[in-house]
């Protein structure tokens, strides 16, 4: 149910899962990045929530059943089969982007896996050094210089962009053999279930780790698409350039950060010292000293927590006060005096 196929989501997810955790999109030719365009954010967020609902109540249960009843080996075969069929689209876009050498290799990959790999069920080609490439018509448009345009979340399909994603997905559907298997609706259903199943790990990761899943998905999608369009060339340097102003900030800011860090380190060292004193007392088998050290540690931790709570409390009070000011137009003392003077 996402514009990205399962494999693409898997690669994105894998990158994040191993990283744990991950501005802007640019033009392929200049590598200069520009801010993400999201003028339809309110609409996009509503569609995102709708898609999440569909995913939670329909897609996920289906995938759960599929994962339960289908052995891993069979799932891998199904995944390989659809990835191999997708290579028709990959080769077409290789040629449209002028990647003749890569196109030849991808044709070889498709031929080997369709024959020796039994209709693509087995990925034999990877064992002869032919890696799977990811190419689609959205990337081709990017390589041709068409801008991504505004970010869009499409119902049922997920993340996309107006000028690359929407026309790209349309051409991709037309160039994918699965689309013509109208007589075999089961194949199309299996293709969708397989794609969603492969994306499970990544979507689960986003759910768990993102502070704001919508923004996380948008940024990851836009950066990943840019990475695909540029084939990763110059991405790190472009990222550095974009953030350069903030990374190499004013000296005064660096001094402020150093001072802040020192204060935080003092707190950490203080807590560590208290832990050490507890351990030392335990080593000396002195119960009263252990109790005293633990009391001190508890006080320190309480102080730290109290400081944090005090900040939150103060912020809440300020917010409440602001809200009251907005709701009640309280006349200032000066205005009150003037009103009294004017009053008969």
């Amino acid at each position: 149910m996402y514009d990205l196929n399962g494999r693409q989501w898997w690669v994105i997810g894998r990158a994040f899962v191993v990283l744990f955790c991950f501005f802007v999109v640019g033009c392929a030719t200049t590598e200069k990045k520009v801010a993400v365009e999201d003028p339809y954010e309110d609409f996009n967020r509503r569609v995102y929530t709708f898609n999440q609902g569909i995913d939670d109540y329909i897609s996920q249960p289906i995938v759960m059943v599929y994962d339960t009843v289908t052995p891993d080996l069979l799932q891998q075969g199904v995944g390989n089969f659809f990835t191999n069929l997708n290579n028709v689209q990959v080769v077409i876009n290789d040629l449209l982007q002028g990647k003749i050498k890569q196109g030849t290799k991808d044709t070889g990959r498709f031929a080997i896996n369709s024959t020796l790999g039994v209709f693509g069920l087995f990925d034999v080609a990877k064992h002869v050094g032919l890696k799977q490439n990811t190419e689609d018509f959205g990337q081709t448009l990017g390589v041709w210089g068409v801008p991504a345009g505004p970010y869009l979340v499409l119902p049922f399909l997920g993340p996309s962009t107006l000028f690359q994603g929407v026309p790209g997905a349309t051409v991709d559907v037309l160039s994918n053999p699965v689309s013509y298997a109208t007589a075999l609706p089961l194949v199309q259903v299996l293709s969708a279930v397989n794609a969603r199943s492969e994306a499970e790990e990544s979507l689960d990761f986003i759910d768990k780790s993102a502070l704001d899943p919508y923004t996380f998905t948008r940024e990851a999608y836009m950066q990943w698409r840019q990475h695909l369009i540029t084939d990763g060339q110059g991405a790190a340097q472009a990222s550095f350039d974009e953030l350069e102003g903030e990374i190499f900030s004013e000296e005064s800011e660096d001094l402020e950060l150093d001072a802040l860090e020192s204060e935080l380190n003092v707190s950490v060292e203080k807590a560590q010292e208290l832990v050490f004193s507890t351990e030392r007392a335990e080593f000396a088998d002195d119960d009263s000293e252990v109790d005293r050290a633990l009391d001190l540690l508890e006080v320190e931790l309480k102080n730290s927590a109290t400081e944090g709570l005090a900040i939150l409390e103060k912020n809440n009070q300020e917010e409440d006060a602001n809200r009251i000011d907005e709701l009640v137009d309280v006349p200032s003392p000066v205005n009150l005096d003037q009103e009294l003077l004017v009053s008969p």
Partner: protein, 207 residues
């Protein structure tokens, strides 16, 4: 058995450990950007190797040391909130840096929880226009595709520190900045801290 007795008994050992520590601190100051990255990666693999035997707390302790000694956490926390940093009070800044650091350690401890023979390998490095360095590495996963990891480095005093990690073209710093500035402007500082704390608790419970 007093602490003093322990010190007298093992004073030479203490002196040896102290000299090694002083040496390691001096050595850390002379480390190149590449050295800082490879040390961090080795420590990460070490935490992963411990896996479930170490448990969440064990992995947390290991990655905390690894991240503190290689990342410029205060700077990263400052960048992810963008221009709104200037609007925060000093206490809020301290709270943000503290929770942000904890979230980073927790994330690593949560997601780097198993080892299947993965290795990091150095590819190359390049200098940026204003004196930064980008270290290019590969994360090699057996029977799987490699993941490109690029580390953006900046000098902090005498040592190099990681400012950003780009995994297969996706910038961690840029992604976090979008998320954090979005949450700050839509929901405010308290909500941001609340969300971070929720994640920290969630990560520690599930592992």
């Amino acid at each position: 058995m007093s602490v003093g007795w322990v010190f007298l008994r093992y004073r030479y050992l203490f002196l040896l450990v102290l000299s090694c520590w002083v040496f390691s601190v001096n050595a850390a100051e002379d480390m190149t950007a590449k050295d800082v990255v490879s040390t961090f990666q080795l420590r990460l693999i070490d935490a992963m190797s411990g896996g479930s035997a170490l448990g969440f707390d064990g992995r947390y302790s290991k990655v905390e040391v690894a991240v503190r000694e290689s990342h410029h956490l205060t700077k990263i926390a400052r960048i992810v909130v963008g221009k709104q940093w200037g609007k925060l009070t000093k206490a809020q800044k301290k709270l943000l840096v503290d929770r942000f650091s904890q979230l980073i350690f927790s994330s690593y401890a949560k997601f780097f929880n198993e080892f299947s023979g993965e290795t990091f390998s150095y590819v190359s490095e390049e200098e940026t226009r204003r004196g930064g360095v980008i270290v290019h590495t590969l994360f090699e996963i057996p029977d799987d595709e490699d993941v490109k990891f690029d580390y953006m480095m900046k000098k902090k005093g005498d040592s190099w520190r990681i400012i950003n990690i780009i995994a297969n073209g996706v910038s961690d710093l840029a992604l976090k900045r979008s998320e954090y500035t979005d949450v700050l402007s839509r929901k405010g500082f308290d909500a941001l801290i609340g969300l971070m704390e929720q994640k920290i608790v969630l990560f520690s419970k599930e592992s």
